[in-house]
Amino acid sequence: MIILEPTDQVKKTGKDGSIFVTIGHYALSNSKNTSVIPNFTIFGLGSCIALILFDELNRVSAMSHILLPRVFSNKKILFPHKYASLSVKLLLEELLNHGAVRENIKAFFIGGSKIFNIENNLMGNENTISVRAELNALKIHIIVEDTGGLKGRNVIFDPKSFSLYVKSTGGIDYKKLY
């Protein structure tokens, strides 16, 4: 089954029905009992981070689209996956709730670039540092990190094969990073 964050408006894109993961949202795939498994995609990743956690053996994976390194206000949080400080933990919990085993879990995280090259534009960098710190604190094995730079990225994750494809703006083709 494919589970999407309840308040989200994720659109299906492309003829293959791939799921575009909107900013501050997540998607989860628990592919034990299903044959139709769409790809998870993000087109135009700038300072945001695409975080993917997955357990290949138990065939559960999830992807979130993170905007900020941490929470900056005291208000009620309606979109926890907006924040690196919350999304990593929550995504892990979701995976475990769907039968993933802690030791199997691997992580990819992509993004955190700086599109407008201004000195005080540090959001991408802060997001990268925050996601990495959260993953390390939870002792989750980071398999692929493709972050930084001055270009946007497109990310495609295939929950069937756990393959990861990334293309940078101005690049010709997608690179298979896993």
């Binding site: 408006q9 909107t22 135009g44 945001c48 309606l78 407008f116 959001m123 270009k151 101005g170």
Partner: protein, 221 residues
Amino acid sequence: MKKKGIVLEGVQFTPEQLDLLKEMGNIGSGHAITALSELLNNKIDVSLTSAEIIPFWKVVELFEAPHVEVFGVYSEIHLISDISIIQIFTKESVINLINLLNGDSNLSVEKIRTCDDLDDLSLSIIAEIGNILSGHYANALSDLLAIKMVPDVPIIALDILSAMLNGLIAKYSQISDYLVIIKTKLAMKNINMNCVICFIPSLDILEKLFEILNIKYDMDL
């Protein structure tokens, strides 16, 4: 007595206030457009301004083709708090403008993959257009509000529109899930130019702006 409207993080947005934001957008973009028109010796065919209060994850939907590569010109105005102005041009628009303003230039869209493919003169043409638009926009609002608003030197990028918007969305949705975006869409058909100018004030500066207008123009906002 304030009429009921949208309450956003303690800031109340009545229909009158939203109309006012749209009017500010009209005034700002009107001045910007006049200046651009004079520079290009061409009139603007289409100009539409809207004021939106929009959840952070829907900002991308304000644009027709968010996954396409575009030129972005970004400037910040530093006051008590921040304001950003971002101008989005289609690739074709920028190439046409450069070719129009530089008689020796004969650029084509296919050859321009990144900003590095543009020579210094081309980049300075884009920067100058960005300067003219943001400068006149801010100037008009400075006069209206009697506070000095001077945009920083604009920064140019060529990238996927949604990637370009990440930083803006991050900056203005730190303390709120909503952003206020005043958006003007403009087109010059015979030179095939399409541009969107967005003026994004932070929530705290908006409160100040409404306060100023209340006092200066004896409004009841």
